[in-house]
Amino acid sequence: MPADDPIRKLALAALDADAQARALLSPEGARARVSFSDLYRYANDPGFVLAPELGARLAVDDAAQADLAHLLANGAFAHIPRQAAAASGAVERRETEKAVLVLTPSRAGAGEVYLSIELRDASARPPSQLFARKTGEAWQRLALPVFSDAQTQVLLDADAALARALADPETEVYLR
């Protein structure tokens, strides 16, 4: 079979391509990113918990953070953007056309705050998760308790990252 035979060329090119495909799929390519499958479940399934190493990767992976932000925006129940630039001090109340979020210090336990969420449309299918992100930081996630009469409430540690983020005007919030 001559060296320039098209059959030979195609056959050898196929073997080269196959070797490259196998090399690209070899385990040496240590996983360094969070898959979109995991992001989708993280965004949609309150019961799904990202493995700690994946959570750590997500926190430092700008591309994954952007994908997650877009995923949260698509089909969100409500989006509460960052407060106006003029806003200062801790935020206690956030409002949109869909919902009102209120942070209230607990009287019973020092260092705790209540997050109350009230939906404006009582007939709407209530969200099951809250996502919050302070500018330049990673997303925080909270599985919401069941709504009753379009309201729900959850007790947070005031020092927890989520509570601090919710009190910060530089934080945007999604309800899903």
Binding site: R8, D16, D18, F36, D67
Partner: protein, 539 residues
């Protein structure tokens, strides 16, 4: 030199980004912790990337996104709403969308986007397209992919929108791969072997020039050589097998039996991506239906257990290899395995050469008997599956019955009132439906008619096995997997029977047993005359 090293590092860096994206897809897990995409799908994805044959799949994907957006435009919910990307799960998800959007027809085997000429995508294709979509998102970013496919979410998105989205995705992927896909490395081992074949080809051309004599001669000539890595017979056999697959596939592809795309110049040495994809695919196809069956069944339904799978994997179940190099198949199974054991033993402690087949042993014939025994067990499992699928009234029971008992007079199942004696399609359908109903109403009876007796055999087979998916009352998932695997198991049985009866039958095995026992023992002694040497050249 330093420039060459720098280039190498640069190439590795480029491929590392692409490798990470593919690894993400390959390692995506389903809700039960198993892989979301099968190994076969991941290989297909990597192949289409490396061969740059993604144009048609991206068009398919674009049409599929239109169909998947039928409910509320959120195609993500359909693609990632399924836990494991399998044909069955996609079928169930699409069935729930039936009638939701004009122009989208949800069928039993496929989804059709009815616009222009119409575009149909089968459920079996969807796992690959889902992996392709995830890969696109991992490489280009979700916002970018969403931007390019946004029009497809809207009601009324037609053929032109699908084409425009496919082109945009194609352009972006092309640009990405230009940055991240390094040039292919020439495979030296295959080229060296092919050079040896050329010298001995005589009048033979193509894969015909690769035969048992060439394979053995090459191994004898180069096993101890530093010129090329050919120490194990298995490696040489694998090289020969791969070359047979790709040369046959390339010959068939270039035989002019299909229309070449305009713009590809073979004379100038160009390789058309579609040709390349088809020929690379032949390498997977050479593994035959065993991999597909194992892929479909996972751990849920054990038509074939691990030991049986390992045994059958010794047989090349594609069309060509066993036909062209039948003796090498068994040489690899017997002496390839022996060499592996030998080199492992020597590496661990310098055990002497021993335990090898001797000239008076019928070792090749014993191996053939083993394959026959395993496939008889697989046939029994298929018969047991017939019982389970018949009880579940799954149409795949008919597929199994027709194949496992082809001599039965299936006309007995047909209605006797004369409805079926004309050519009207509708009437034939009614007759088929009636036959199906009668089949499922038949019960097992060893002394009854042929169908009843077959069902009695199937019940006996069911009671005689105790494996995953074949005990007690299988749940709906197990029945689904069993049904999905019915054709795969029949293909496996057929391929093994063909290989045993057509390719490996009629060889003068006693003569090869006598000659090979001596030849391989001498070669092993020459290669592994000291444990120290074996340590240096781990097989």
């Amino acid at each position: 030199m330093s420039t060459a090293l720098e280039n190498l590092t640069l190439e590795e860096g480029k491929s590392e980004v692409l490798r990470a994206a593919l690894a993400c897809v390959a390692e995506s897990s389903s809700a039960d912790g198993g892989p979301r995409y099968s190994e076969k799908v991941c290989r297909e994805l990597a192949r289409s990337i490396v061969c740059r044959s993604y144009a048609k799949p991206l068009l398919e994907l674009s049409h599929l996104l239109v169909a998947a957006s039928a409910r509320d435009g959120r195609y993500e919910d359909l693609f990632w709403g399924v836990s494991r990307a399998s044909a069955g799960e996609f079928r169930r998800s699409f069935m729930a969308l039936a009638g939701m959007r004009d122009g989208i027809v949800i069928g039993t085997n496929a989804v059709t986007h009815e616009d222009g000429d119409g575009f149909q995508i089968s459920y079996t294709r969807m796992p690959f397209l889902a992996a392709l979509l995830e890969f696109m998102i991992m490489t280009l970013g979700y916002p970018a992919v969403d931007d390019m496919t946004g029009e497809l979410r809207r009601p009324g998105a037609g053929e032109e929108k699908a084409l425009a989205a496919a082109r945009a995705l194609q352009r972006s992927l092309y640009a990405y791969l230009k940055e991240h896909l390094p040039p292919v490395q020439r495979q030296r081992r295959e080229r060296h072997f092919l050079g040896f074949v050329d010298m001995r080809a005589g009048n033979r051309t193509g894969a015909d020039a690769i035969n048992d004599e060439v394979v053995l001669s090459y191994w004898k000539a180069y096993a101890a050589s530093d010129e090329i890595e050919a120490r194990t017979f298995r490696a040489v056999y694998d090289t020969a097998r791969r070359l047979i697959s790709v040369i046959d596939a390339a010959e068939e592809r270039l035989s002019g039996s299909y229309a070449k795309p305009i713009g590809t110049d073979h004379e100038a040495g160009e390789v058309d991506p579609a040709d390349l994809d088809v020929v690379v695919c032949a390498l997977d196809d050479d593994e035959g239906p065993l991999a597909q069956l194992l892929d479909t069944c996972g751990e849920q339904v054990k038509f074939v257990n691990q030991i049986e799978a390992e045994t059958l994997s010794e047989l090349p179940l594609g069309e060509a290899t066993a036909r062209r190099i039948p003796v090498s198949v068994l040489r690899n199974a017997v002496f390839g395995a022996a060499q592996l054991r030998l080199s492992t033993a020597l590496r661990r402690g310098g055990a002497p050469i021993g335990g090898l087949p001797v000239a008076t042993d019928p070792f090749y014939r014993a191996r053939l008997d083993t394959y026959a025994t395993v496939i008889e067990t697989t046939e029994k499992m298929a018969l047991a599956a017939l019982w389970s699928l018949h009880r579940a009234r799954r149409p795949e029971a008919v597929v199994l019955a027709l194949e496992l008992a082809p001599d039965i007079d299936w006309g007995k199942l047909m209605p006797v009132n004369g409805d079926d004696d004309n050519d009207d399609g509708a009437v034939v359908s009614l007759a088929a439906a009636a036959a199906l109903k009668q089949f499922f109403e038949s019960g097992p009876n060893a002394k009854g008619d042929e169908v009843a007796a077959l069902l009695a055999d199937a019940r006996t087979a069911w009671r005689g096995v105790n494996r995953n998916g074949f005990r007690g009352d299988p749940d709906a998932d197990e029945i689904d997997v069993m049904a999905a695997a019915a054709r795969d198991v029949l293909r496996l049985i057929s391929a093994v029977r063909r290989t045993l009866d057509r390719d490996l039958h009629g060889v003068d095995w006693p003569t090869f047993e006598a000659g090979d026992a001596v030849a391989f023992t001498e070669m092993f002694k020459a290669l592994y005359e000291s444990g120290k040497e074996a340590e240096n050249h781990a097989g």
